[in-house]
């Protein structure tokens, strides 16, 4: 069958399933509690599906696999290891976070310090960061859609509109259902791809033994060649150099630990125990997924040591799938990647919605807003946030993996100290939180330009997070007595 026709059939089938999921979820989202949390009634398996589905994004599948293809396992030290360390921190605070009973993370500051201003400020920050991060998913979708149909990237990203807005309008119910479907699709797809790669290489062990001997340039666009054994080393060159990889814990790792897209999933669990179990089960599942992805990346490099095209890191997987490893399954695998992009994107759109409606408008509006108004506002915010990200995605970042770490670093610098301080340190004050936010924003303004200029040998989240934490401590210590009197 014609390749394009086959992909079009996959596209139609995938669309039909998402249409059914979206339609069936619309009814269950007529209040804020249902729209953002499903009234905290989701079963554990759905929580796990949405947690993993949101976690595994285009950055994981396209960029991480591409990076493993280019630079080997050092890409894991740069991203996956910090993610898992961050998740352990998240488990540590999950019980305390759940006990607050809030719907959004910024609401925590209003509940604790009675400050609507802080809630609105953090809401605006979250909305902005997620609009930026959504670019990753749109780019990932665009790359795959462009590969599938042979259409220009700028046109292919328009197709993302068909899915992410529709699945987000149904709220958390719709998002979790589509996440479950996309996760199943992704697991099956990755499993099949791993089998194909292992079958072509000969054995799973053969992938790793073969990778040790790979030399040369991964593709025409690479700046450095691979030496024998490089692919299995924990650290590499460029972004994967030791200092950068270790300091990336402050970007990817701490950014994940405080990331509201996971915090919301903790808050939406049935109870604190379910939340902890959700994270542990998800981490086990994710360990399997990352093993599969890294094996696929290495296996592809063993099979095709050099791609004779000038490609970006994020395009490697789709290019090889559509050419060197093409089979009838390729369309399915490519749609699994699309599913991963959609499942992360709709979760993040929902966070943009909650930040805009509940945290900004809801907090600053002089009167309490009706639930139906908040839900309508949320749907409007989904539309606006999606469109803004789409426009930004027209000129996407070069590497999703490094870009994602930089965006998550914003959370580390601005949100980590306030959230962890509020949850873990009783002496944290409103002034301390304000100081942490202000210092964090200032640090972003100073260190990120230096980092992009190549003048900073570590990730900017490292100094930024330390400065923010210091400001929180100092602000709290200085204002403790005054605020206690008030």
């Amino acid at each position: 069958m014609n390749k394009t026709l086959l992909y079009l059939i996959y596209f139609a089938a995938y669309s039909a399933i998402l249409l059914v999921i979206g339609k069936s979820s619309l009814r269950d989202s007529d209040s804020v509690g249902k729209f953002f949390m499903c009234d905290r009634r989701l079963p554990l398996w759905r929580c796990v599906c949405t947690f993993v589905g949101t976690w595994v994004s285009a950055a994981s599948i396209l960029s991480l696999t591409g990076s493993v293809y280019e630079s080997g396992l050092s890409a894991l030290m740069f991203s996956v290891v910090p993610w898992f360390l961050g998740a352990l921190l998240m488990i540590h605070v999950s019980g305390k976070l759940y006990a607050t009973g809030v719907t959004t993370v910024p609401e925590l500051f209003r509940v604790r310090y009675g400050s609507k201003g802080l809630q609105a400020a953090f809401g605006a920050l979250l909305a902005a960061v997620y609009v930026l991060y959504l670019v990753i998913q749109i780019k990932g979708f665009g790359i795959v859609a462009s590969t599938l149909f042979g259409i220009p990237y700028s046109l292919s990203i328009l197709l993302v509109y068909l899915f992410i807005l529709y699945t987000s309008f149904g709220g958390y119910q719709s998002v979790t259902r589509s996440d479950a479907f996309n996760l199943i699709l992704m697991i099956v797809g990755l499993g099949v791809l791993l089998v194909i790669v292992v079958a072509r290489v000969g054995s799973l062990g053969g992938i790793y033994s073969g990778a040790a001997g790979v030399t040369g340039y991964a593709h025409a666009g690479m700046e450095y060649a691979t030496e024998a054994g490089d692919l299995l080393r924990p650290f590499g060159q460029g972004d994967f150099a030791p200092l950068m990889s270790i300091s990336m814990f402050f970007g990817w790792g701490l950014g994940l630990a405080v990331n509201p897209q996971y915090a919301v999933r903790i808050l939406a669990s049935r109870d604190a125990r379910s939340a902890r179990r959700m994270i542990w089960i998800s981490l086990a599942l994710l360990a399997g997924i990352y093993f599969t992805l890294s094996s696929i990346g290495l296996g592809m490099r063993v099979l095709i040591p050099t791609v004779n095209e000038t490609l970006s890191t994020d395009e490697i997987l789709t290019y090889i799938l559509n050419n060197d490893l093409y089979s009838t399954w390729s369309g399915f695998l490519l749609f699994a990647i699309i599913g991963a992009c959609v499942s992360t994107a709709n979760s993040q759109l929902l966070l943009i919605a909650s930040s805009c409606s509940c945290d900004i408008v809801g907090a600053l509006w002089p009167r309490p807003l009706k639930e139906s108004t908040l839900v309508s506002l949320s749907r409007g915010a989904v539309m606006a946030g999606g469109t803004l990200s789409l426009l930004l995605a027209l000129s996407p970042p070069a590497s999703l993996l490094t870009y994602g770490g930089d965006v998550w670093g914003v959370f580390s610098v601005t949100l980590l100290a306030p959230v962890f301080g509020t949850l873990l340190w009783k002496s944290t004050t409103r002034t301390g939180v304000c100081a942490a936010l202000g210092a964090g924003l200032l640090a972003l303004a100073v260190f990120y330009p230096l980092y992009y200029e190549g003048l900073l040998p570590v990730h900017p989240a490292l100094p930024g997070t330390l400065i923010s934490a210091g400001a929180l401590w100092l602000g709290s210590v200085l204002s403790r007595k005054r605020e206690a009197e008030v």
């Binding site: 596209f11 139609a12 259409i151 068909l162 309008f169």
Partner: protein
């Protein structure tokens, strides 16, 4: 059935909207594809015909000069896979094997035979390659069609949701009201329900609920009043439905029916009542129930068939239960009193008549006895005199029992009275080695006839002395309680078993004189507003408890 359930308003609207839109988009897409197909096919055919016309022209112009091989070489240089040249016998001169096969299958888009060499020039069409090329050419159109379909369905979903959601919310509110109509209030109807029609519907529901709330309030008030009346009736009231289910019961009736310790012919009051419900006629007499200890309850049952109003077709039954135990006992006591009074009069008359001859007999025997010489005869006379005295004593008791002495009630302080009785019997008790104890709170008093009260105590102490042996103990106690005084005479004698105790109680109830003068005690207590209770067990002694209404010593004037 499942299909009917899934045919909600939302789905019906969705099917209509999506059906029309999808059909339109599909028709549009199909027409576009068909046009593309036809256009491409026409182009291919024209291209083929042009090519064949060009080759034919070449053959005609240069064939004779350059020969067949040169012409074939020129055609081969065109590198057109669709071109197939066959000679007059059908042998392939140019073209691929696949092309020749297509000619054999008849997949020839253009054909030319009119040339100088007699060749058959064919331009074939590889359908698969053609289709594939068509898809590649039309992929934007196909993609746009699919995208349009998706958008159409999504719009349909949102439109149907937008229209049906307010109706669904109204329906959900009505369902909630239906489940708990007593809590119905206009606030349960959502206010933001979209369009004008649904808002009108919501307003109408709110008005209806406002009316319903007023009606419910009035109904609740009326119901509360009725329940209050039923609850406060001095009767037990139970209403039964036609199926025997209890529809309504007041607390008084519940308490009576819940008591399962009283039986009439082995049946509790509930069973008796249920049995009577099934009977066509209801007996008029009261029901008498007894428990294992001989206590009695008497109930007057009334049964009315309910046949009006909504119960016309299935009539129920209303039962009233009146506890008439006190009335019956009083009635019996009055009868007993009258009987006793009559017997008393008769006995007094008889006693009076007997005493006179007895006095004569006694005097005569005394006289006769003095003249007797034999010791045996004198002893016999003395014995006869003793028997006469005993008869006299019995007659005296009989007279006392029957005679209603006028009581002279006053506030009697108990401590001195108990002391006086103890002193009276101290010598006799001392002789028998019996210890007498008195315990009384100072100032504790009752309103009674002192002489009668003293008589009561004397009788009881006398009985006690008979009951206890050497070294026994008799205690007289008076202690105050809330609004009452408990007077008791306790001995540590042999006590009575259950049978004996019942016999004594029966004796008191029947008004007999008995062996212990307890009937007199009972009557005297009754005259002085006291109640007596006998507590006794074999080997555990006997305690006679008497309860009086308490009177303070300062109440003398007010009484």
């Amino acid at each position: 059935m499942k299909l009917r359930r899934s045919l909600t308003i939302e789905n019906k609207i969705l099917m209509a909207v999506v059906g029309i839109c999808v059909l339109s988009v599909l028709c549009f897409g199909f027409l576009m594809l068909r046009e593309g197909y036809t256009s491409k096919l026409t182009q291919e055919r024209e291209k083929g015909e042009e090519l064949l016309a060009y080759i034919s022209w070449d053959i005609r112009q240069f064939g004779d000069n350059v020969g067949q091989d040169a012409i074939l070489a020129g055609c081969a240089a065109l590198e057109n896979d669709g071109l197939v040249i066959l000679d007059g016998r059908g042998a392939r001169l140019l073209g691929t094997e696949q092309g020749a096969a297509l000619v054999e299958e008849g997949s020839v888009l253009a054909e030319q035979r009119d040339n100088g060499f007699g060749w058959r020039l064919c331009y074939t069409l590889d359908e698969a390659a053609f289709q594939s090329g068509l898809v590649e050419e039309q992929k934007y159109a196909i993609l746009a069609t699919i995208a349009l379909l998706i958008i159409t369905i999504q719009v349909g979903v949102f439109v149907s949701y937008g229209i049906s959601e307010p109706v669904r919310r109204l329906a959900a509110a009505c369902a909630a009201i239906g489940e708990r109509p007593q809590e119905a209030s206009p606030e349960l109807i959502p206010t933001d329900v979209g369009g004008a029609e649904t808002r009108q519907l919501a307003d109408a529901f709110r008005r209806m609920l406002e009316e319903l709330r007023r009606y419910n309030a009035a109904l609740a008030e009326q119901k509360a009043l009725n329940e209050n009346i039923v609850q406060n009736l001095p009767l037990g009231v139970v209403a039964y439905g036609a199926d025997g289910q209890v529809l309504c019961v007041n607390d008084r009736a519940s308490a009576m029916l819940a008591n399962e310790t009283f039986f009439a012919a082995g049946q509790t009051l509930r069973l008796v009542l249920e049995r009577r419900l099934t009977q066509a006629s209801v007996p008029l007499e009261a029901i008498r129930l007894e428990n294992g200890r001989g206590d009695v309850r008497v109930y007057q049952i009334g049964v009315w068939r309910l046949g009006r109003g909504s119960l016309e077709t299935q009539p129920g039954t209303l039962c009233t239960i009146d506890d008439v135990t006190y009335d019956k006992i009083m009635e019996e006591k009055v009868g007993e009193s009258e009987k006793l009074a009559y017997i008393g009069k008769l006995a007094a008359m008889l006693a009076h008549e007997i005493r006179n001859p007895l006095a004569g007999i006694r005097a005569s025997i005394q006289v006769v006895g003095r003249g007797l010489e034999r010791e045996r005869d004198r002893t016999l006379c003395t014995s006869v005199i003793k028997e006469v005295d005993r008869i006299n004593e019995l007659i005296g008791d009989l007279l006392n029992l029957s005679r209603k002495r006028e009581s002279h009630k006053a506030v009697v302080e108990l401590k001195p009275l108990l002391g006086e009785v103890a002193m009276l019997y101290s010598k006799l008790a001392g002789n028998h080695g019996v210890t007498m104890e008195t315990t009384a709170e100072p100032g504790l008093a009752i309103y009674a006839d002192e002489a009668e009260l003293k008589q009561v105590l004397i009788n009881l102490v006398s009985n006690g002395l008979k009951a206890v042996g050497q070294g026994g103990r008799i205690a007289l106690r008076a202690q105050g309680g809330p609004g009452e005084v408990l007077l008791s005479v306790t001995d540590d004698g042999a006590g009575m078993d259950r049978e004996k105790l019942r016999s004594v109680e029966r004796g008191i109830a029947s008004g007999g004189t008995g062996r212990y003068g307890l009937a007199i005690v009972s009557r005297l207590l009754e005259q002085n507003g006291g109640e007596m209770k006998i507590l006794s067990s074999p080997g555990g002694g006997t305690c006679i408890e008497m309860r009086f209404r308490r009177t303070d010593t300062g109440e003398k004037e007010t009484l």
